[in-house]
């Protein structure tokens, strides 16, 4: 047992968790933490807005699969974090957010910069702690990291009153602890895995739907083995994009609102789906009723509450995905199941895939979404990490940017937070400084957190912003064109600001690319650059993302380019 102040104990506890970097902003109520951060070996990366600090921690967490840590002060500092925390919660990303709070005696008195962040954040955290005595801090940190990173990961909030940071306490740093109501692991359900195999083998048109859970649990080789042994085509959700190599012959790409035509077409034809690590989001499956009416659903997930939430399932396999899929692979090997024969379904799948890959009508012109994203794929190393913002560019990336290395593509898919991609890319680069990181962005989204350019330049965290610039809030514009009879309002960004100049003013590299050749050179320049590069790529503002499944309609009613 040692005597030390709460803030010191916090740093010791973070170091014990292996934390090397934190993203944050100081303020009145977290100054004692910052004073101890100053004395610690932990690197502080200064964000210019707390929301960005949270997104950076989120990007770091998704890539490293360890909780990213962000700091903010009380009041507005903590409320600014909320969008970032909610984004992490919606996409099950591990995060530990640490906020300062007014002193214990001031809580509830509407003190300066007091906010009830425990109350406000409740629906969007996995758990929240507010230690009231300094000696609670070591255990709270330990539990926080454990909760954030186990089972279905998510954000944990530690809200620490200023006096709890400042006062001394007797500190014990526990190795063991118990959380009575938290059981993140259940043993894989062997009986149901066996049943699932039988069901897949007895189906005529089976398909695998791979979700974000496969990426979170890094279960790529197992998924690939299962698909290859059973010869089952793989579609993904958007969050599961890149959980299966998109250049694989069995890969059909994402389904959903802006899924690949072949993926949606074949999903509709399938008679049995092996759904792995997905919550059957409305954006992925169109309408719930239509989906479950015609399909036998095998659902594997770590979170028991996901079973039956959106879809009624035939067989549920609850448990850690990696453990479950490994058992499935072993069973298949034991049964010596290897479907090498080209069956009728697989032949049909290949025909449909080839047809749509060759015949999907794309807009003409040189600088179209399809062409610029394929150019990016061509130039970018396969191991590079990509993030996206939210909007048309995101869905174009889904359609035209193939992820070859599993687990290198990340996006705000659940909450759909514009402004996520750039700070998340910075966090990703901190986690993986050895690989290039590219934020596939739209200018509407980038505008929301572009001040993170300061962080990336001053903290020497170079990334590439691939700015698909149609000078409008393009997805909103597309909906106004499609559903509101072209009554266009609130979408024209009028080429303001100039992103090359914005980049330069922060000391980053700004390049405008107006042809595919220029674009290729710009990407190469970005890959070589020591500073962040913003590549501004003007495109036609009237282009729609197609195919398109209108909200609330089934996948079969997909609108195709005419």
């Amino acid at each position: 047992m040692e005597n030390m102040i709460g803030a010191r104990a916090l740093m010791v506890a973070l170091e014990k968790e292996g934390v090397k970097e934190v993203f944050g902003l100081p303020g009145g109520a977290n100054l004692p933490m910052y004073d101890e951060l100053y004395k610690s070996n932990i690197r502080h990366i200064l964000a210019r807005h707390e929301q960005s600090a949270a997104h950076m921690a989120d990007g770091y967490g998704r890539v490293s699969r360890k909780p990213g840590v962000c700091f903010a002060t009380s009041g507005p500092g903590s409320t600014n974090l909320i969008t970032g925390i909610a984004t992490a919660q919606a996409d099950s990303a591990p995060m530990v957010a640490i906020t300062g709070q007014v002193p214990v005696k001031m809580i509830g008195r509407d003190a300066f910069q007091e906010s009830d962040i425990i109350g406000m954040s409740n629906p969007c955290v996995k758990y929240a702690f507010q230690p009231r005595d300094p000696s609670e801090i070591p255990e709270v940190v330990k539990k926080g990291f454990y909760i954030a990173s186990t089972g279905r990961p998510g954000p944990v909030l530690l809200d620490i009153p200023k006096d709890v940071q400042q006062n001394e306490g007797k500190m014990t740093f526990p190795h063991e602890f118990k959380i009575r109501g938290y059981h993140p692991w259940t043993d894989p359900d062997i009986a149901n895995i066996e049943k699932a195999i039988d069901m897949l083998l007895s189906s005529e048109k089976p398909i695998i739907l791979s979700g974000g859970g496969v990426i979170i649990s890094s279960t790529f080789p197992e998924l690939q083995s299962i698909a290859e042994m059973l010869m089952i085509p793989v579609v993904t959700t958007f969050k599961g994009k890149g959980s299966f190599p998109e250049n694989h012959p069995l890969s059909l790409g994402p389904i959903g609102m802006h899924g690949h035509a072949e993926a949606n077409k074949l999903m509709v034809e399938a008679d049995c789906v092996l759904a792995i690590g997905t919550r059957f989001s409305d954006r992925s499956i169109g309408t719930f009723e239509e989906f479950e009416k015609r399909l036998k659903i095998i659902h594997m997930d770590v979170d028991p509450a996901e079973i039956g939430k959106n879809q009624t399932t035939s067989i549920a396999v609850v448990g850690d995905l990696q453990a479950s899929l490994r058992i499935m692979v072993k069973m298949l090997m034991k049964k010596a199941i290897k479907q090498t024969e080209e069956n009728k379904w697989i032949k049909h799948v290949k025909e449909v895939k080839q047809y749509w890959r060759e015949n999907l009508k794309l807009p003409k012109g040189e600088m179209t979404a399809a062409k610029i994203l394929r150019k990016l794929r061509e130039v970018l190393p396969k191991e590079a990490i990509t993030t996206t913002e939210v909007g048309q560019h995101q869905m174009w990336a889904s359609l035209f940017f193939d992820v070859i290395h599993p687990g290198t593509f990340f996006s705000s898919t659940g909450l759909g937070t514009m402004g996520w991609g750039f700070p998340a890319a910075i966090g990703a680069k901190v986690a993986r400084p050895d690989v290039p990181v590219v934020d596939i962005a739209g200018e509407g989204s980038f505008n929301m957190t572009e001040n993170s350019l300061a962080t990336s330049v001053l903290e020497d965290i170079p990334v590439i912003v691939f700015l698909v610039n149609n000078s409008s809030l393009g997805m909103v514009a597309q909906w106004q064109r499609t559903f509101y009879d072209r009554r266009m309002i609130g979408i024209d960004l009028k080429n303001c600001p100039d992103y090359v100049k914005i980049a330069e003013s922060y000391g980053a590299q700004g390049i405008r690319a107006q042809s595919l050749d220029e674009l290729g050179r710009a990407i190469k320049a970005g890959l070589k650059s020591d500073v962040t590069t913003v590549i501004d790529i003007p495109i036609d503002p009237d282009d729609d993302v197609l195919p398109f499944v209108a909200p609330g309609t089934p996948l079969k009613d997909m609108i195709l380019p005419s």
Binding site: N122, P123, R180, G181, Y182, P304, A305, G308, K309
Partner: protein, 160 residues
């Protein structure tokens, strides 16, 4: 159908709020709720009743189970459970015979009579929600001035 859910939670501030907030944010509805500390002061027991189809109730139970502050979540079978609710009625007395009739009604339901006044009478009834509703129907003609109701408390029978 009435569903009774018994939840053992950590006896810490804010847990009741978190549980009810989960009901709100997930669009579930609470029919009645009662909370009290258990023999072990580290825990409280919450008894929540709700109405809905099987899928709805299953989701409630799963979402409750998922909460880190809930130690044990059990759905109680009403046939294997003792469940009771306490209600206080203040009933109007308009004429002399009312008082006698209300006393009779109370004794038929095993209710206790308190605070019998010239123009009102208070009745305490501990019973199942169905019995309480039946009593309420019978008392209505006299005029119910006000009521206070506790929500259901429930425990599973031994060996059930």
């Amino acid at each position: 159908m009435l569903t009774i859910i018994s939840i053992l939670v950590e006896n810490k501030p804010g847990i009741l709020w978190k549980v009810t907030n989960m009901f709100r944010s997930r669009n579930f509805n609470i029919e009645s709720i009662s909370v009290g500390v258990t023999v072990d002061p580290e825990f409280s027991r919450m008894t929540i009743t709700t109405k809905g189809d099987e899928k709805y109730v299953q989701q409630i139970v799963k979402q409750l189970d998922k909460m880190i502050d809930t130690v044990e979540v059990r759905r109680l079978d009403e046939h294997k459970t003792v469940y009771r609710e306490l209600i206080l009625f203040k009933i109007k007395v308009s004429k002399a015979s009312d008082s006698m009739e209300i006393n009779k009604l109370a004794s038929a339901y095993g209710a206790k009579v308190h605070d019998a006044k010239k123009d009102s009478i208070m009745v305490e009834l501990t019973a199942t929600p169905d019995q309480i509703n039946a009593f309420e129907e019978l008392a209505k003609p006299y005029g119910i001035i006000e009521t206070a109701r506790t929500g259901v408390a429930a425990l599973q029978r031994s060996g059930a």
